[in-house]
């Protein structure tokens, strides 16, 4: 399954509201570090609040950063996948 079309704003809002990464700075593109306990395990580039559709290749990089498969990423943005469920998946995937 391919990643669906989402706007940059949609992806940004879901990342911030569900995953709540630690934002390190406010440069041109914000980055968020995702921690499991004290361990930094993922780093994600957070899109800006544009209403344009994000290119699949860029969405793919965000999904990869989050350690999510395409369908899981779709679920994260479309809502079935909750924040706690995401962290449970992440925990299983971190070395």
């Amino acid at each position: 399954m391919a990643i669906s079309d989402f706007t940059e704003k949609q992806i940004r809002e879901k990342l911030l509201s569900k995953i709540k990464p630690t934002i390190l700075r406010g440069s041109k593109h914000q980055k968020g570090i995702i921690y499991l306990g004290d361990l930094a395990v993922a780093r994600v580039k957070i899109p800006n609040s544009h209403n344009r559709i994000m290119k699949p290749s860029k969405s793919q990089y965000i999904a990869t950063s989050l350690r999510l498969e395409d369908d899981e990423f779709n679920d994260l943005i479309e809502c079935p996948l909750t924040g706690p469920q995401y962290y449970k998946k992440l925990k299983d995937r971190v070395d």
Binding site: A40, S57, D95
Partner: protein, 208 residues
Amino acid sequence: MELQLQRDEKQNKQSKGPYWVDPHVKGVVGVLAAGQTIKEGLFTLVGLSPTEHSSASPEILVAATQHEFGSSVERYLIHDIGTSSSLLSLYASLNSQIIDLSERVLTLEKQTNVISTKIFDLASDKYELKNYIDVILKIYSDEVLAIIPELELYGEGTNEIYALDDLKQELIDLYEDLNSVPAKNLSKKFKAWKKVINFFIEEKNGNK
């Protein structure tokens, strides 16, 4: 859809004519009577036999084709090709090739152009590269992505220069992020990235 060919007076003055053209017609090879309204299905009378040609007189053989390569070039070639079947066959063959090429150009235009390049500096007062870095450029019609897959980094911009500039800032951000977190709090993957990025980037003298 019906198309009404109109006399091309400019062409008619310059030669024996008469010439007929419809600006909406693409790739037409047909036998047409003066002022005749024709059906779309008549547009491709490819391979008319000489007998058919001679019987077409005094009808006018009109061939028109519109060349479209992207949106940059648009022009018409209009020929009175008389009753020569060889010319008509030749024209039909060329016209077919033009249509085929136009379709292939459109397909290629939709594809992403991927090239590789290198960056040799970070355009920063604070940091510099110790070694050049290989970068993949994905060029879309409206955006360019500059990518370093190994570090899961990408820069973006409306052209190659902006995308590479953005990527350089991404590299600096990653360097600072990884070096701001104590090593004991980094996952194995991040420790590996830190090793890689510290191999490529260093602070300039005076900034340490």
